[in-house]
């Protein structure tokens, strides 16, 4: 119970609303609660290259600048706009001078990384910092501040249809364990209220997770050791190695793990049902495209037609 209490003490109080001549948006998922956005934004700057940028791209919003994480634009947004967005620095510390120079009319970012400069950002343009762990809510929030609600509704409805179709085709009571291998450790992304998006997609597909991988609190991931992997009792093991920025085969690291007798004692491995997936979407989730890729991987694993 300490977390909600702390959160209440430490989060921003909702600011009083003032007269707005554009689009007044009130969402619980916005830092500050209410922002006064332009009714048709023409010059959007996004502050992270993940949800904010990728979802803005999926919603066909006019993004003219973005902050990065790493040194290049994510491949998903190549060719989305006639001219690539200008870079305004790293998402952890975007250059305010660069944002000023772009003269944006709307700034979109995430609540965790950019709260530090919220004040200065708001002086430059209406700033929507989105505060939610749920990717579909994130998409809807971005759509609502940019006046793109109908596009979001349409795309999400199509997505729900695809989910229902696959869920119906999957075998009853399918259980899946999901594991990410990093040097020196393991990460198990769990199903729960704050689940990382790909895990939420699995849950929507009706896929069950073993008890160790299911939580009722805000846990996002667990870090078991090799011995702890014995808790991963799913019929199917889906594992990935490294992160979205990795494109090599990581063979040595994979061998180090898969040659271990403990790994070989896992039920899914014994049954020959351990599948390696690419980390691009599983670990670099960016919205609808990624969700469709994850559904495609699941269909592949269970032998459903594409």
């Amino acid at each position: 119970m300490i977390r909600p209490a702390l959160a209440a003490v430490f989060t921003f109080a909702a600011s009083a609303s003032i007269a707005c001549d554009g689009l007044e948006v009130t969402q619980e998922t916005l830092v500050g609660g209410t922002i006064c956005a332009p009714s048709e934004p023409q010059r959007i700057v996004t502050l992270d290259p993940y949800y904010s940028l990728l979802m803005a791209a999926e919603l066909d919003l006019p993004v003219i600048g973005t902050a990065l994480s790493g040194d290049s634009l994510p491949s998903q947004v190549e060719g989305v706009w006639d001219t690539d967005p200008e870079l305004v620095g790293q998402m952890t510390s975007p250059d305010l001078e660069a944002i000023l120079a772009l003269k944006p009319d709307l700034i979109i970012g995430d609540a965790y990384s950019q709260a530090e400069i919220m004040e200065q950002l708001s002086e430059i343009a209406p700033t929507a910092l989105v505060d939610t762990a749920d990717w579909k809510t994130y998409l809807r929030t971005v759509a609502s501040v940019a006046g793109a609600d109908s596009t979001a509704d349409e795309k999400l409805a199509a997505y729900q249809t695809a989910v229902a179709e696959t869920a119906a085709a999957l075998p009853e009571g399918a259980t899946v364990s999901f594991l990410r291998i990093v040097p020196g450790g393991f990460q198990v992304y769990v199903a729960g209220p704050s689940a990382y998006a790909p895990m939420a997609v699995l849950t929507e597909l009706g896929i069950e997770r073993p008890p160790f991988e299911t939580v009722s609190d805000d846990t996002v991931l667990k870090r078991p050791t090799m011995e702890g992997l014995l808790e991963l009792q799913g019929d199917v093991m889906i594992y990935t190695i490294g992160g979205a920025h990795h494109d090599g085969d990581a063979k040595a690291l994979e061998d180090e793990v898969t040659s271990n007798p403990i790994w070989q004692a896992l039920p899914s491995v014994k049954a020959g049902r351990a599948y390696r997936v690419e980390p691009t979407h599983w670990m670099g989730f960016g919205g609808l495209d990624s969700a469709y890729e994850i559904i495609a991987d699941i269909r592949d694993i269970y032998g459903l037609p594409e």
Binding site: R3, P4, L6, A7, V9, F10, T11, F12, V31, S69, L87, V88, G89, Q90, M91, T92, S93, P94, D95, L96, E97, A98, L100, A101, D110, A111, Y112, S113, Q114, A115, E116, I117, M118, E119, Q120, E123, I124, L129, D131, A133, S194, D218, V220, L221, R223
Partner: protein, 342 residues
């Protein structure tokens, strides 16, 4: 203690030499200040700065850009002064040149509290909450260290240092645990905070640090001479008795407060508290009444130049000043160490 042979022999009186050093450093700082206002993503020549100040900005954004740079500059200078003075005072009262504000648990306490608030809560965290948490964490850690090292007699430097290391280790381990336990999504801001970033400091931060300095600087000036007495006190516990003990603890509190304010405003800035007093001593000799002003100016120079460097080296990437301090400070340190040795 009198004449450690580390200053070049010039035949000048130490006071006159210290004055020259201070004037030179002040001139360097002024030059750095002007450069900080001129350079950034776009260069703003002094003429444009002047025009903007006179209410005739050459570009619609000139005013805002200048404000951003001005806040970074004065917060950077203030933070540098705070950390350098804090380090100099601690090195004097604890009689150990390896001491810096982190040694009394300050950084680790602040970092742990910040991590707790940033990583283990939900929702967006305001700067004020973060600063409050940092100050609370730093105060708790310093109080804990002092209590653990408490002895009935005078303050025993070695005990304080050892207790500080113990508390810092524990807090450091807890910080690692918090980072591993928290959601990965929430880590970037913590990483930046731990790096001492001046990007996004506001007028409020500037007020906080300079109001604190306005209170602290006269105190520091007042205690500078006492500090030399404290250093000359040959045996800890003996010497000048009860009065001296109170003064020593008061100085410890002052040093903690100075570094605590700096940390609250811009996160963890390493290096300055350790190195600025060293450099100052090499320039002015060991007496604290000469070391303190020089150290303060050097601290201000290090932080403000680190910030300028960090935001102009590869724009629009902003490298945090706290990290650049360590990078540009280290070569200087080795250079000086070498020159005065060989």
């Amino acid at each position: 203690m009198t004449t450690l042979n580390i200053t070049p022999q010039t035949g000048w009186s130490p006071d006159r030499k210290a004055l020259t050093v201070s004037l030179t450093l002040t001139a360097a700082l002024l030059a750095m200040a002007l450069a900080s206002l001129c350079f950034g993503l776009t260069t703003m020549p002094p003429a444009d700065i002047w025009a903007t100040l006179m209410g005739d900005p050459p570009d619609v954004n000139s005013d805002r850009i200048l404000t951003l740079r001005w806040h970074r500059l004065i917060v950077g200078i203030g933070v540098g002064i705070c950390l350098a003075l804090s380090g100099a005072i601690l090195q004097a009262i604890l009689r150990n040149p390896l001491v810096e504000p982190g040694v009394i648990g300050l950084n680790s306490g602040a970092a742990l509290a910040a991590a707790f608030v940033l990583v283990l809560t939900t929702g967006a965290i305001s700067n004020a909450s973060l600063a409050t948490a940092a100050i609370l964490g730093a105060t708790t850690a310093v109080a804990l260290v002092t209590a653990l090292a408490w002895s009935p007699g005078n303050l025993q430097p070695m005990r304080l240092i050892l207790a500080g290391i113990a508390v810092a280790s524990l807090a450091g381990a807890l910080l690692t645990a918090a980072m591993l336990a928290g959601s990965p999504q929430r880590l970037p801001r913590l990483l930046v905070w731990l790096s001492g970033d001046l990007n996004g400091v506001s007028a409020k931060d500037a007020h906080l640090v300079w109001i604190a300095l306005a209170g602290a600087l006269p105190l520091v000036a007042f205690v500078a001479r006492r500090l030399d007495i404290a250093m000359l006190d040959p045996v800890s516990g003996a010497g000048l008795g009860h009065r001296q003990r109170i003064i020593t603890y008061a100085l410890l509190g002052l040093a903690a407060a100075l570094a605590g304010i700096a940390t609250a405003v811009c996160g963890i800035v390493v290096f300055v508290g350790l190195v600025a007093p060293h450099l100052a001593r090499r320039l002015t000799g060991p007496m604290n009444r000469r070391v303190l002003p020089a150290a303060a100016l050097i601290g201000a120079l290090i932080v403000s130049s680190a910030d300028l460097f960090g935001r102009t080296i590869d724009p629009p990437t902003q490298l945090p000043a706290g990290l650049i301090c360590g990078l540009i400070g280290a070569p200087f340190f080795f250079l000086l160490m070498r020159r005065h040795h060989g």
